[in-house]
């Protein structure tokens, strides 16, 4: 009976127990794949991921520094531009002031020149008038004396007398002129 049971058990394997070969080969497959992933695939992936994040960080840093540089350059350019503008404004103001000064100076010079010319001219006119007056007086005097000598038939040789006569005549003449005016 017992022998028969054992024999039966040996012949027909227990359906609840897995075959040894099944378990062994399963374990082999699992271990091989485990070793492959553990020591080959995952370290490779990890290395690559680290490198990738490094590269990304590096690029971000590079971009940051580039942006900072650009900003600094922009600020510098802006400052330079403002300086240049201020400089130009200064130059323009100076030029305007200079121009105004030059114009004013020219005007002054011109008016001075004009008044000088006017003064000279009036002085000359006055001088000419005086000389004309003098010559006219002496001529009118001698003419009048000649006329009077002719009229009265005698020479008015007494210079002193004749001179006084002429003077009186001229003064009368001037008076009448003024009255006429």
């Amino acid at each position: 009976m017992l022998h028969a049971l054992i024999a039966a058990a040996e012949e027909t394997p227990n359906p609840l127990l897995p075959a040894v070969a099944d378990l062994v080969w399963s374990a082999v497959v699992f271990v091989v794949i485990l070793v492959f992933f553990w020591f080959k695939v995952l370290p490779n992936v990890k290395k690559m991921l680290d490198k990738r994040s490094e590269a990304i960080e590096g690029n971000i840093e590079k971009a940051d520094s580039a942006q900072k540089e650009a900003e600094a350059a922009l600020a510098q350019y802006t400052a330079q531009l403002a300086d240049a503008r201020a400089e130009a404004g200064k130059i323009r103001d100076a030029a305007r002031a200079d121009g105004q000064k030059i114009v004013a100076e020219a005007k002054d010079a011109a008016s001075a020149e004009a008044s000088r010319i006017q003064a000279t001219a009036s002085a000359q006119i006055e001088a000419e008038r005086q000389s004309a007056l003098v010559s006219l007086r002496s001529e009118v005097g001698s003419l009048a004396l000649d006329l009077a000598s002719g009229v009265i038939g005698e020479a008015l040789n007494d210079d002193k007398k004749s001179q006084a006569l002429v003077e009186r005549f001229l003064v009368d003449l001037e008076k009448s002129e003024k009255a006429a005016k």
Binding site: A19, L23, W25, V29, F30, I33, V45, K47
Partner: protein, 230 residues
Amino acid sequence: MNRIIVIRLLMSAVLILLFWLATRRMKVIPGRGQSLAEMALDVVRVNIAEDLLGKKDGKRFLPLLTTIFFTTLALNLPGIIPGLNVAGTSLVGMPIVMAVVAYVTFIYAGLRKHPGTFLKNSFFPPGVPWPIYIIVTPIEFFSIFILRPITLALRLLMNMVAGHLLLVLCFSATSWFIMEAPSFLKLFGVGTFAFGFVFSLFEILVAVLQAYVFTLLTTVYIQLALAEDH
């Protein structure tokens, strides 16, 4: 050695070859193959390990979780690969091996993190009045230390076996209806073929989903073991 074991070896070789090719020379700017491999690896690394365990513990258990995910996936897929037609996980050995690994791992994780309190807290959850322990302790013991590994293994095995049976049924029926059935029944072949077609597509989903579920549950068990209170 049988057909399923040969399929396992073949698919493992294919899996290793694909990942070896994709990650042989990894570049910072990925090519097409590397992008695909990265996307696949990120499913485990980001969506499972780091989300549930956090960065530090996620990294610790990542090799194991990645292996479980891709082994399960690679061995599930032959269920719908023409010529192979049966999943490498549809023989109980593979699910058992991986369930045992998951079991050992989460117990190891718990004992390592809370050497004094892991077992005590597992059997006697803190914050429960003591008479309740009469009920809670057997339930906790049964669910954590017996049901977890068994359900892990059986869920995967049954899904793949059922899928295989379903496909065999649909396509055998199609073959019989079209080849041997009397002529008025031949049209049924179209229906069974359509079912087979739909279930083939469904099996792709199941293959991916079961790989994801197995990995996710393993991660959750590890997370529970690592948590301060159970």
